[in-house]
Symmetry: D2
Subunit: 143 residues, 4 copies
């Protein structure tokens, strides 16, 4: 199964993402988690864009984040996205955001996704999504 | 015709909209302009939401802004949106952002909208939109 | 004490906040929660802007949200922010997002805030903040 | 002088940047332009972060964009940033956004920057910034 495999991506914090404290705004971490999930999926050869083209959508059922150490403008950060559960009812991920050298853990998070159709009705997670094969890779650049 | 009538709205600058200089990020002004257009249209009794439900969309063809004096967190600002041209080919607006007491002009802008259908093809501006009646009003609160 | 008092605000979902599913993007809920906290505090007569002017900052230590029913463009939503804990170590809030008529619960959330100084070092929650008096009010408009 | 040299960067359109029409929201182009300027500057060996650490800020005096063809979720786009004027009074850039293969021009834009100090007062563009040397390069990946 695909559980407990991880994906790493590094990227740079952009100017508009930082608030007047000089810290990455806490709401932006969830956007980073979304980028992590998207790029993780892409490594399977399938994309979330193709998923929506089938008339299905993955929606967030719940999400959380603990903030341990602030992130600043122009920091290069390292996001590790781990697929922790993949079943016909839900998909769970966990996240860690580290500095580039991986010496400081800035934040950890979790999310649960459900699948809905274009009417917003719950749909089981498709078999093909559950059975995707992911390569064993680490730290590709954000692209 | 509906040209050269104006609409005013006041609203408050939110924390996440301000960058680490302590200034409203320049990209946010265009979001404020969009709120201005939306609320202006709503005063006619018709809404942009209803417009999209007809399968039509108003897209930005061009937009510009001149920034005169920075806007800060928690400022109450006054946005004046003026409909400067309404034709079958395009809709033009101009914008002024003032402080609450209207003693300082912070920014001015302009935009041109075109109408497209759900395939993204150009469509003429519908007659009913051109002929909407707007009340003469000023400075309702953002809502 | 100030625990378990609530504040309500209604506001409208903006175009740029909605994703291509037609749903309010999940990261935006945290921005709404921030608006809720800000407006709640303002009812005491003191503002978060004044707090930062004292060289102190309230930072998010952790936050979560459960999404129950999607929110769409132009919806008027009702946000209830409740102060659930206020101590020298942390401030906790809970949140509910309802539709305007309060017949459907769209989302619930929680957050914990800590206080830091301008160097990012932990600071106790100031006495004056703990002792603020809040009026008993409900559902002012967003402004 | 440094005028009329260009910088290219490719990057991918993120989910939260796209509106319910399925198009990159028009306000996001200005954020892309900002990324273009930032990465262009970085190729000189100097960064905008270091600039702010000197107590100086580059602020947008005016900006505009013409939108020619919509950009969609997950598109790889190619942004060309050209330094068109660098003087003691202002810095001007122009921008082109192409598809990845450079067969379709999606948008063009322009901006003017001014320099201010930490009090928001106009400051001349520093000599060292005017005299930076840029390598001749094209199309590094966004990082």
């Amino acid at each position: 199964m695909n559980e407990n495999i991880s994906h790493e991506i590094t990227f740079r914090v952009r100017y508009h993402e930082v608030d007047q404290m000089g810290f990455l705004h806490h709401s932006r971490y969830f956007i980073y988690f979304e980028i992590g999930r998207t790029e993780f999926l892409r490594t399977s050869g399938f994309t979330y864009k193709e998923f929506e083209e089938k008339g299905l959508f993955l929606v967030i059922a719940n999400v959380s984040c603990k903030y341990k150490y602030p992130i600043r403008y122009d920091d290069q950060i390292r996001l590790i996205t781990t697929l922790t559960k993949m079943s016909i009812g839900k998909i769970e991920h966990s996240y860690e955001i580290w500095d580039e050298s991986k010496s400081r853990l800035h934040a950890i998070g979790e999310s649960t996704l459900a699948c809905v159709d274009s009417n917003g009705h719950l749909h089981k997670i498709p078999e093909f999504l559950i059975n995707l094969k992911y390569p064993d890779l680490s730290a590709p650049d954000r692209n």
